[in-house]
């Protein structure tokens, strides 16, 4: 990627280069836009970067990094425990899909990462994920750590105030499941609202 300073020069001989650079940038934006559109449409474009290094805390406060999870497929979902509707519905579907997969589920580590670290401390996360069975790992972290991992996974989140109290807020957040391979590379997004049966069928195809 050329440094922007190369294009600031108003010299005529660089004018063409500048225009070329701008066109290149526009083209890049178009490609990324198309990629995101495909991604939202459920396609699996090659080379789209989802995921990356992270260091977060599990239910016991123990550090877990992306490297610790290598060797297994990783099915990751972002949400928060004060979400009484969509998040538990999704996690229950994930747990049921894992049950349907039988022994193949042992090759998958399901991970629930909070986007509400203020309320979702390690003990809160531990109790919450345990209610969906033994398979889901709950991860939290500092605000900065969560911001970093959400950015890597292209997850949007923002608080929405519902009152004056410190806990009077809900979180807006992307609701999507991601499957990453045993080497940490992104494989595919999965619909979070398709139901356990569909999710199990989709996963079965991807677990090769």
């Amino acid at each position: 990627m050329p440094k922007p300073t190369e294009h600031i020069s108003p010299k005529p001989e660089n004018g063409g280069k500048f225009v070329f650079g701008v066109l290149g940038l526009l083209f890049a934006v178009l490609i990324v836009g198309a990629g995101i559109t495909m991604w939202l449409g459920g396609a699996t474009p090659g080379g789209l970067s989802i995921g990356g290094p992270f260091s977060l805390a599990d239910g016991d406060g123990k550090r877990v990094t992306d490297r610790d999870l290598r060797g297994k497929f990783m099915l990751v979902y972002f949400g928060y425990t004060f979400c009484p509707d969509v998040c538990p519905t999704t996690l229950n579907q994930v747990a049921e899909a894992m049950d349907r997969l039988g022994p193949r589920a042992d090759r998958v580590q399901t991970v629930f990462i909070t986007i509400d670290p203020k309320r979702d401390t390690s003990p809160v996360m531990k109790q919450y994920v345990a209610s969906f069975g033994p398979r889901i790992m709950g991860l939290t972290g500092t605000e900065a750590e969560i911001a970093a991992v959400a950015k890597e996974f292209r997850v949007y989140y923002a608080p929405h105030r519902t009152g004056d109290g410190p806990n009077d807020y809900t979180m807006d957040h992307s609701s999507v499941l991601y499957l990453l391979g045993p080497d940490g590379t992104f494989i595919s997004p999965l619909r979070a609202d398709a139901g356990a049966e569909q999710l199990a069928a989709d996963l079965a195809k991807l677990l090769n």
């Binding site: 509707d85 969509v86 229950n92 579907q93 809160v124 109790q127 949007y156 929405h160």
Partner: protein
């Protein structure tokens, strides 16, 4: 004995509000930890004049609100709503992914197989109470699987999809 009591609770609200035309069925909530939040869901049938659900309360939660979940451009949002219209002759379903009752500050752990009480207040019909069974965390009431004619005990839960899932540590949760 408990079943009798619960059965009585189920019948009473219907009987008491036969004239208003509001009937609550298929109420359920999900296992949750003490102090946490829970979502509760119910079907409201209105055989009378147009009415509006304006409030909700539960003796098992510090606070209860009406909320709506919506997906906006792939972003999940949850918003409080001031009320939910129940048109004449219509049935409104509070179900996962749409409207729900948000229970906040749970006074005790919600344990699958047990039940809690919900009181919904309507602009015209006034308060109507129902019993919501507690399903496992994240579970939804299967279609056509109401409470009528079924026991409220744990055996019934075994027939529901996914109910056999092991590991329900909520049973060990303190402060019942």
């Amino acid at each position: 004995m408990r079943r009798l009591l619960l059965a009585a609770l189920l019948i009473l609200p219907v009987a008491a509000h036969a004239q208003s035309g509001i009937a609550l069925t298929d109420a359920f909530t999900r296992a949750a930890a003490v102090g946490g939040v829970g979502g509760a869901f119910v079907t409201i049938a209105n055989t009378g004049a147009a009415d509006r659900l304006t409030g909700v309360a539960s003796p098992d939660a510090e606070k209860a609100e009406l909320h709506e979940s919506l997906v906006d451009n792939g972003i999940m949002k949850m918003r409080p709503v001031s009320g939910i219209d129940v048109p004449a002759g219509a049935a409104v379903k509070l179900a996962p992914g749409g409207y729900h009752i948000m229970l906040m500050g749970l006074k005790h752990a919600l344990v699958a197989g047990e039940a809690i009480q919900l009181t919904l207040t309507f602009a015209k019909a006034g308060p109507v109470t129902t019993t919501a069974r507690i399903l496992k965390a994240g579970a939804s009431m299967p279609a056509g699987h109401g409470m009528d004619g079924h026991g409220m005990g744990g055996h019934d839960m075994g027939q529901m999809p996914g109910m056999s899932m092991p590991g329900m540590p909520m049973h060990d949760a303190p402060a019942k």
